[in-house]
Symmetry: C2
Subunit: 343 residues, 2 copies
DNA sequence: ACAAGCATTCAAAGCGCTTTGGTGGAGCAA
DNA sequence: TTGCTCCACCAAAGCGCTTTGAATGCTTGT
């Protein structure tokens, strides 16, 4: 069923039917009702492409999610992020386009998306330091919101939604220091990523404040897999002087740490303390009842939702000043932390 | 840059330019080169919507991913599935549209997608028993491929890509039985899902073959979260006569089992045996070096890739008979299984 | 009674592309 | 020369919608 057929059926012009359905005032209430009813009956839904062509707006947004070519890994937080964003898209009747793009040619992917004209705006995932995509999108004039931030020139004004990574890791580190820990391992994400850089800075700053010399061999930076947590812990614990605490950049890494501990017969929270960052993933709820992990928690799903909201705003009124949302992570005390063992 | 501008620039008609770019024969090689070069230079990319309108083909496919309303959970295997499918889409220059839809109104979501005419085909995720979406899509005449299967009427012919769930769980169960286990817990996925029904059947069939009476209180069916694995194991082990082995429907559930064991001081593979189903998720590679879990393994990423291929095929030639791909899971012997403790 | 004003409705253009159905001219045979 | 076939190109229609600009029929005010 298309407009033409529907209007023929109703003995009305396409104009009137279109206006009736789109809520224009110059249509009598009587006809509007009649049209609405007929549309529902024959479940008429306007063809997106045609509408897009006519209006110049697509009612769609794009997400480009990077595929780490090194390990062929897709960050699992995307599911939850997207679930959050989708709530907004559903409400606003927007479609979501997804491309999974090897992180080597993300830039060209954005260029392509822009010139194909298939979306009204995009969400930028996984910003790196001085991310070129920001300038690119600005120069193209495509609305966008960054999930995270990028240390680009100060005067670049763009919308972002970020977690306060520095503060979170600063607090976590301080928390461990307060418990008496001095050798604290950091299992960071890839430090080409902005978020990881900030986390590192937070960690460092807490150590500095406490006058603890940081030990470079205790800091690692990798793709956040389970195996990374496991391997690192095994390596750490094989040292003459192993760390007494570990800070892990994701629950998945934390799971690896736990496996290693279990294998080594170490009890988390006693022999080794662990704080993770918890994105509050739906499949890994760090339960309220017995919080498995001491964690800095910030819901990535909420971040997705907020990103989508900002993007909708920006598409609706491009000239409004760009908004920034900085979410603070909660510090959840679970049972993987305890006083440093004296040795 | 659009067709009109480009053709004006070249002093050619839109027709010729369009044909040159789309590889039609009635264009001289000289002009084709000239056009191609100019297109690249001004990086002209045809507007997707306009092309779609004109051809009736969208060069896009849809994925509707269900959001379990009960727990607000999005299955994490989607990231990997989609990464696989995207390889094909990228190659074929297809776009991917995603909707996350509460599992309560999936059907209407499909209906909407179809009448909006924004995709050439869809992938159906998470089929349940006698899934109504299959009939729906057939009646609409929209090409689709099901990831999984549905026990619908025999004569329904549709394309699917599935793992041999029954066989996998039959083998896993038999493997445990061969090790002397008689009380085997099953932590299944939601048994409204087709895959879970088949897994249950496999489990049952192996027990039957060995003449073991199944114990309904050892079989659970839930959303496959970490916590589910943990809670179930804790409950199981609090029984007077706990099971000696557990079959878990996903690595995430297995992680919960491991956590419970570690807490209870049980050693996996000695005090309790565990076999998981492993979707070979990129973040949870069940490492080759020291395989953490004994598992039935089947790559969900590969499944995504295959689904996408079948869908492309079907879109290209709708009348070709529907194909079915049944993937066999590998049985990986890791170190979470061992002989049943005598007691 | 007539112009003005308003409430409704409509025909047609246009969004950027593909595709149908040509046209003009080169090349060749008779 | 005529008549024919090819080749290379083009003008215009059409995909399904929105939107501009105009038309229609009714009330009003005077």
């Amino acid at each position: 069923m298309n407009l033409k057929e529907l209007s023929a059926l109703l003995n009305l012009s396409q104009t009137t039917v279109s206006r009736a359905l789109n809520g224009y005032p110059e249509v009598s209430e009587a006809t509007r009702d009649r049209v609405g009813k007929a549309a529902r009956e024959h479940n008429y839904i306007p063809n997106t492409r045609a509408r897009g062509l006519a209006t110049g707006r697509t009612h769609a947004v794009g997400h480009v999610i990077p595929l780490s070519t090194k390990h062929e890994v897709v960050n699992p937080v995307f599911t939850d992020f997207i679930a959050g964003a989708s709530e907004i898209y559903a409400r606003e009747n927007y479609d979501m386009h997804l491309s999974v793009v090897p992180d080597t040619n993300e830039e060209s992917a954005y260029r392509k998306i822009a010139s194909k004209g298939s979306v009204d705006g995009v969400i930028v995932h996984g910003p790196v330091e001085n991310d070129p995509r920001i300038q690119l999108l600005q120069s193209i004039g495509m609305p966008f919101v960054v999930h995270g931030r990028s240390n680009a020139e100060v005067d670049q004004d763009y919308a972002w939604v970020d977690m306060n990574n520095k503060r979170a890791f600063e607090r976590a580190t301080k928390c461990l220091i307060d418990l008496g820990h001095k050798r604290i391992g950091l299992l960071n994400g890839l430090e080409s990523m902005d978020f990881a850089i900030r986390r590192r800075a937070g960690y460092q700053s807490a150590l500095d404040a406490a006058g603890i010399n940081s030990d470079a061999t205790l800091c690692r930076s990798e793709e956040m897999t389970e195996d990374y947590g496991y391997e690192s812990t095994m390596t750490f614990c094989a040292r003459d002087v192993p760390p007494t605490a570990i800070l892990a950049s994701s629950i998945i890494v934390g799971i690896g740490v736990r496996r290693a501990c279990s294998e080594l017969g170490l009890t988390l929270g006693k022999d080794l303390s662990l704080i993770i960052h918890d994105d509050d993933l739906s499949y890994f709820r760090n339960g309220a009842a017995a919080s498995q992990y001491t964690a800095t928690r910030s819901s990535v799903r909420q971040a997705g939702l907020t990103c989508a909201e900002l993007l909708m705003e920006q598409i609706a009124s491009p000239d409004v000043p760009k908004r920034h949302v900085l979410m603070e992570a909660e510090l959840i005390i679970g049972n993987t932390t305890g006083p440093a063992p004296r040795s």
